[in-house]
Symmetry: C3
Subunit: 180 residues, 3 copies
């Protein structure tokens, strides 16, 4: 990592199957650093277990994976280091986990922001944009959209760089390409 | 407001919780003009009433708010003035209101376009992009998507500037930043 | 068509009613070539039959239309020519057709990529982004989102130019405007 920028943060935003995770991984792997993957998902059914196993195999042996469904700020604080890039994948599942655990998403996001600001090494965060379809029928889905959207806005505000992925290709939302 | 551009129009497009309204308000407040907020929503249930009250409080005392569920062209004609910026929030609820009232959306949009063209002061319009999810199951939702999308295209065609918001950050669709 | 670029490929990505088809048609019509429209839809109900007839009438007499629900690689190979621009509209319905016909979407996409690479004239492909809403309730819709998203990524990777449409306006995802 070049000396003038000891710590940088990048938000990779996009839809399902937009190539977010692949883009984020490529950006991380382009750095000559240890690679730590912070997965916010837990395998709760077979479909998800299959995805997780496939994704882990796709990432390969360079990556260390840890599963952190809720305590994201703590995980970033514990693992951030100047010789390591952290990849958090993804904030949208984290939002869902916070809701189910009845945690205060705004407060937790504030704590994550503090952890990002304090991180000694680069952190890449992946998140879904989920608000571009028809208004969902059920109130829970609408509330989830609100929570996930607020987290995206808050994180986008503080990161050094943000991109919007479509069909695997990035549109620049803000900042310079300082990571990867 | 700089003399060479007495009237400018801006479309702020984005998903739910993408920061559209906040972006639009900030752009309006950056102008040294009277602020008029044209809300296209009416409180029809408690969830919506809560949102409206919260949004009104968020905007603060500088803003005058008027509720215009249907007669948007008339409202723009009545309130546009060289010392005032109008913020219309949002065209997607207006589309929904037109459908429920069985009004001809294409004709109403044409009338809105005429009013925008004639406006003596700047007008900022907020709208949702709702067509980027899975095709909805029910025909009414599909028709709504068509109506809302056609309105967005028609307005985007005539405004001076258009931006697409994601996570609170704007992507430039067209034009220069002449407002705010 | 200018001599240095005998063949070019363009992907037009966007939501429902985002102006994708209109943009793609305008880009094709700007070329002084024969116009062939490859429709991947078949009229399966009245709503769709109405749309197809309306779209065909909108395109006008300059266009030759062929309906190709499945054999897209073959159609591109059969119709690509240095004096012709092909417009494939759209890959998302093709993805749906492949799923219902229980064809291997990955393999078919590979064959389409080969056909695009071999094409003697320009090819414009239209596709929907469908992954930016809430996660669908049913597993089939989630699988469709995956298949459609993977096709978009694979095609975006190989085309010379890709744009994301919102409200009829293009955001550049990659490449230069070499077509139209």
């Amino acid at each position: 990592m070049a000396a003038p920028h000891p710590s940088r943060t990048l938000l990779v935003l996009g839809g399902a199957r937009s190539g977010k995770s692949r883009h984020a991984q490529a950006r991380a792997e382009a750095l000559d650093l240890k690679l730590v993957y912070i997965a916010t998902c837990e395998a709760q059914d077979e479909e998800m277990a299959d995805r997780i196993a496939r994704h882990r195999a796709d990432r390969g042996a360079r990556w260390t994976t840890i599963e952190v469904p809720l305590q994201l700020a703590e995980a970033v604080r514990a693992h951030a280091a100047s010789d390591t890039v952290l990849l958090v994948d993804c904030l949208t599942l984290w939002a869902s986990n916070l809701m189910f655990a009845e945690r205060d998403a705004e407060q937790e996001t504030g704590r994550l922001v503090d952890a990002l600001t304090a991180a000694a090494g680069p952190v890449i965060l992946v998140s879904n944009e989920v608000g571009l379809g028809i208004v969902p029928d059920n109130a829970l889905a609408r509330r989830f959209r609100d929570v996930a959207g607020r987290i995206n806005q808050r994180i986008a505000e503080v990161v050094d760089e943000a991109v919007f992925l479509a069909a695997g290709l990035p549109l620049k939302l803000k900042g310079q390409s300082l990571i990867g």
